[in-house]
Amino acid sequence: MARIELAGVGKRFGSVETIRDVNLDLHDREFVVFVGPSGCGKSTLLRLVAGLEDVSAGEIRFDGEVVNELTPPERGIAMVFQSYALYPHMSVYENMMFGLKLAKTDRAAAERRVREAARILQLDRLLDRKPRELSGGQRQRVAIGRAITRDPRVFLFDEPLSNLDAALRVQMRIEIAKLHRRLDATMIYVTHDQVEAMTLADRIVVLDAGEVRQVGTPIELYQHPANRFVAGFIGSPKMNFLPATYPKGIAIPHEAVEVGVRPEHLRLGEPADASVEGRVLAVERLGAESWVYVDLGLDDPLVVKHAGMADLPPEGAVTVGLPAEACYLFDGQGRSLPRAAFG
């Protein structure tokens, strides 16, 4: 339970500025996901909130109180690490008990909390095992259990599922969503998996090169990306970008422009408001849908997501329709242009 505010937060390692002027206001009990490409500073930002790193600039506030100088336990956070970081020489029970013992929690209360966490995460039978005797998914659960027992105000996850296989990842994703509803902590979750971000988040923070590029609900980001970066980052396969020019006779507000259109909105073989002609490069059939790569003579092929099996011969000519209502327009600096600009 905490409202978290970041005001002008920056972090530099030596001369490298890893985080630059981040301003965020996370609501109480919100599930916020940080996404961005590798090395963009997601983990660093999370560690700043945790108190594992000191900010170089700005202020972090929990419920209005400045926590810049507080240690992680004083901030009341719990963190689940990517590598789980369980204590290898302690049993599952001792792992979950360690923090409570250090906090000098009353023995009976501590015991109750560990049992409760074990029950929620179905670890009851594993309490006496050492971490090395557990599967990846079980270790993950212990790491989460250790975090729950601390009864934190703020829950921090750093790519908690990235070491799990695909099936287990889906299962744990659902468990984390359940956990969020059950606990009333504010959660910050770092991932570079879009599906995790889209399904778990109340709001997503898109980071790039240490800067926030957009904050919004998953649907907002999908429907109204603020810039070319977010447009390209959210959605899979990623949005197509085509160079464009203004027709003669329109007052030009911006010099260079690009049209962005998502693969799922393109119409294969049907002309629409605008159409392009190309050659089929490859077809990837995924069963329910197919991804068709069309060569338009540009650097990157156009990707079209087509429902069902696209039965197209390679090298064949094809027409692709672009519906105007599904197109986005970006200016030379990659900013999203408002639709009104179409006139």
């Binding site: 590598s83 204590y87 270790r139």
Partner: protein
């Protein structure tokens, strides 16, 4: 030559070589045992299996305070081990985990200390020992032995601590652990093999040390084993009581062998295991 005979020949060669190495390593000790069983008169007769005769062993303990010497060695070596491990662990935590200016310089200085030959520091050390009023007392040996046990203890433990995942420490910090708790409750148990390996090496080094022990002690009661053995003398200046010397050597070598055998498996895992997986 067919491949099979060649392989067989290779194997024979391998075992021959191994036998030679074992012989080279073990024969001197075997000869010491054999000699320790022989009375002085038969010392130079070549006899590979003399009947066990413990007279020399009685003589060693009767003619000088050898029991006392062994106890001294035990006290000194144990104190050296405990102090090197304790100081080494704390230093290694700082050197391995905390970023500060001049860290690698400090690390290399520590390593550099171990490069001075003992003789080079002998006179300086002697002055120090006198100044501290430790002359002819066991603490003088503990103090001086730390010169050569600490550098490698610090180095080995620093390497091991660096190999421990950083997230482990951070998890402990989030759990509310202070640095001392992290060292004692999280790192210490994980460094078991490294501690045993370095501790044993420190023990052996302290147990065998001769030069400082000879210089800093005077009376027979304060001597450690290597000095005591070296100073075993016969009835006249022209006679060296080889039987007694060999008996004494065997007595003080056996504990080391036992120690190494007990911790053998731990030592091997300590020398090979670099990282601890979570």
């Amino acid at each position: 030559m067919s491949r099979r005979t060649r392989r067989r020949l290779g194997r024979v060669g391998f075992y021959l070589l191994m036998a030679l190495i074992v012989l080279y390593a073990v024969f001197p000790f075997y000869w010491a045992i054999v000699s320790s069983f022989k009375p002085g008169s038969e010392m130079f007769r070549i006899d590979f299996f003399p009947p066990p005769n413990l007279a020399n062993y009685y003589a060693v303990f009767a003619e000088q305070p050898f029991g006392r010497n062994i106890l001294n060695s035990l006290i000194v070596a144990s104190a050296v081990v405990v102090l090197s491990l304790a100081l080494g662990l704390l230093a290694a935590f700082a050197l391995g985990r905390i970023r500060f200016r001049g860290r690698s310089l400090l690390l290399f200085t520590i390593l550099g200390v171990s490069m001075f030959p003992q003789v080079a520091v002998l006179s300086g050390m002697f002055e120090l020992v006198r100044a501290l009023g430790l002359y002819n007392r066991l603490p003088s040996l503990v103090l001086s032995y730390l010169i050569f046990t600490l550098p490698f203890t610090v180095w080995v433990l620093t390497t091991f601590i660096r190999a421990l995942p950083k997230e482990l420490e951070e998890a402990a910090i989030v759990d509310g652990a202070k640095p001392f708790t992290i060292v004692t409750r999280v790192f210490l148990p994980l460094l078991g093999p490294a501690l045993i390996t370095t501790g044993l090496l420190a023990f052996i080094a302290a147990w065998n040390e001769f030069l400082f022990a000879l210089t800093f002690t005077l009376s027979g009661e304060q001597r450690t084993v290597p000095v005591a053995i070296a100073l075993i003398s016969g009835a006249s200046a022209y006679e060296l009581p080889w039987g007694n010397i060999m008996a004494a050597s065997v007595v003080v070598t056996v504990p080391l062998i036992v120690l190494v055998l007990i911790f053998q498996r731990r030592i091997v895992s300590g020398l090979t295991a670099g990282a601890v997986k979570g």
